[in-house]
């Protein structure tokens, strides 16, 4: 691994100042992607700014309307929190499916969505639940946050503080895992909100997480598996690689959507 300088700010203001001043500075959240990436030589920041000491980013709050997850909240904490399991069971379940137990003890929501890996789980929850990403300077709707593979609306030096998810019991996340990496070959987050259905797909699209609007409209009219008949995601928009061909991923998206629907029907 290339050399770098390690800084550990004590609060958010100091972290932002370090990021402004640092050349080639990168924030370090849980490090479960960044550290392996640096070990492989695929990233080589000159300064690492460890966000682990920032109390402002650590909290997890359940309010009457929202579940607000601090950017540095590890997946294991979200998966185990009784408040999250009650208010938004699908969110807790998704957090419990990320990586493995050790990754979940360190990995954070802020790190996951700032990285926006096309096969990561949390981007699907943000998009499916219509979350708001709160940064040090503004609120960003999930629809405006994810801009394609590894791209987000974050500006240089901007830090995620928390993610606010509207409470939603009628939601489910189904994921078809790559058995080695635990990443999604395809993952579908289906949520039924008062104002309509949202379906977010991760792992499958060539341009990262996306909404399957055609199926959203169909399920909005009639929330049954038969409403999906005849629908398909365009194969040309699907990833194809040694793990799964594009047409197989397109098939998985539809199968997982139907299974998510079945989970929601059982739950309600």
């Amino acid at each position: 691994m290339n050399g770098f300088a390690y800084l550990r700010p004590g609060d958010l203001a100091e972290a932002l100042a370090f990021l402004r001043e640092g050349d080639e500075a990168s924030p370090l959240a849980g490090g479960q992607t960044l550290v392996p990436t640096m070990k492989q030589g695929l990233a080589a920041p000159e300064t690492l700014i460890d966000l682990g000491g920032l109390a402002e980013l650590a909290g997890l709050r359940v309010t009457p309307t929202h579940v607000e997850v601090g950017a540095m909240c590890p997946h294991a904490a979200v998966a185990a929190a009784p408040g999250v399991r009650a208010a938004c069971p699908a969110l807790a379940e998704l957090a419990g499916m990320i990586g493995d137990a050790q990754v979940r003890n360190r990995g954070t929501i802020g790190g996951s969505i700032a990285n926006n890996d096309p096969a990561a789980d949390y981007p699907a929850a943000c998009l499916g639940l219509n979350a708001v990403i709160r940064t040090d300077r503004r609120d960003i709707a999930a629809d405006d946050f994810f801009l394609g593979m590894f791209e987000t609306a974050l500006e240089p030096g901007e830090l995620i503080v928390s993610v606010a998810f509207p409470r939603c019991r009628e939601a489910a996340y189904l994921k078809f895992r790559n058995p080695a990496s635990r990443f999604a070959l395809a993952g579908v987050f289906l949520a039924r909100h008062a104002d309509g259905v949202r379906i977010a797909v991760t792992g499958a699209g060539t341009d990262g997480v996306f909404r399957w609007s055609e199926a959203e409209a169909a399920l909005g009219r009639e929330f049954t598996a038969s409403a999906l008949a005849g629908l398909a995601v365009p194969v040309e928009d699907m990833l194809g690689d040694l793990h799964a061909a594009a047409d197989y991923r397109a098939h998985l998206v539809k199968v997982l959507t139907a299974r998510a629907l079945a989970v929601i029907s059982e739950r309600s």
Partner: protein, 156 residues
């Protein structure tokens, strides 16, 4: 170089480390605690699992400096006064290994598993929660058996 102080297996240690030092390299090369193994280069195998403040982590995926002021426990820190930890004893009694390379990580993950699930830990949960620990010899049968026995002793 940065000065690092942390608690390792019950004793305070201070050392000057390069900022880029991984926790696993600090443990093995600087502290001579070679019970923690490196089995892969992709953070997938789990041979390097240790506890930081009582929670299992992959020490190849964390910087040593991220542990400043914290409590790190490796497999060497489990036995007390020459008596094996119940989980170590259970691996011994049930032959929960073949070559033994993955064993330190298995044991550290197993103890964390018992801490999380308590007496409710069952076989299906053990198999699921071992998803971050890879064994290429045994087929896991005796590892699972050992963890269930160790859990029983730990929660008795």
């Amino acid at each position: 170089m940065t000065r690092l102080t942390l608690e390792l297996n019950g004793r305070m240690v201070t050392d000057d480390v390069e900022d880029r030092t991984l926790l696993v390299d600090f443990l093995r090369a600087r502290q001579g605690q070679t019970g923690t193994h490196v089995g892969c280069d992709t953070s997938q195998c789990g041979a390097c699992v240790v506890h930081v403040d009582g929670v299992s982590v992959k020490s190849c995926n964390m910087l040593a400096l991220q542990c400043a002021g914290r409590k790190v426990t490796t497999v060497e820190g489990l036995a007390q006064d020459g008596v094996l930890h119940p989980m170590q004893q259970a691996f011994h009694d049930n032959h929960g290994l073949q070559c033994g390379f993955c064993t330190p990580g298995m044991i550290m993950s197993a103890i964390d598993m018992v801490e999380r699930h308590g007496p409710a830990l069952d076989e299906a949960t053990v198999r699921h929660d071992l998803e971050g620990n890879i064994c290429r010899c045994t087929g896991y049968e005796n590892i699972v058996k050992a963890i269930l026995v160790g859990a029983k002793v730990m929660t008795a």
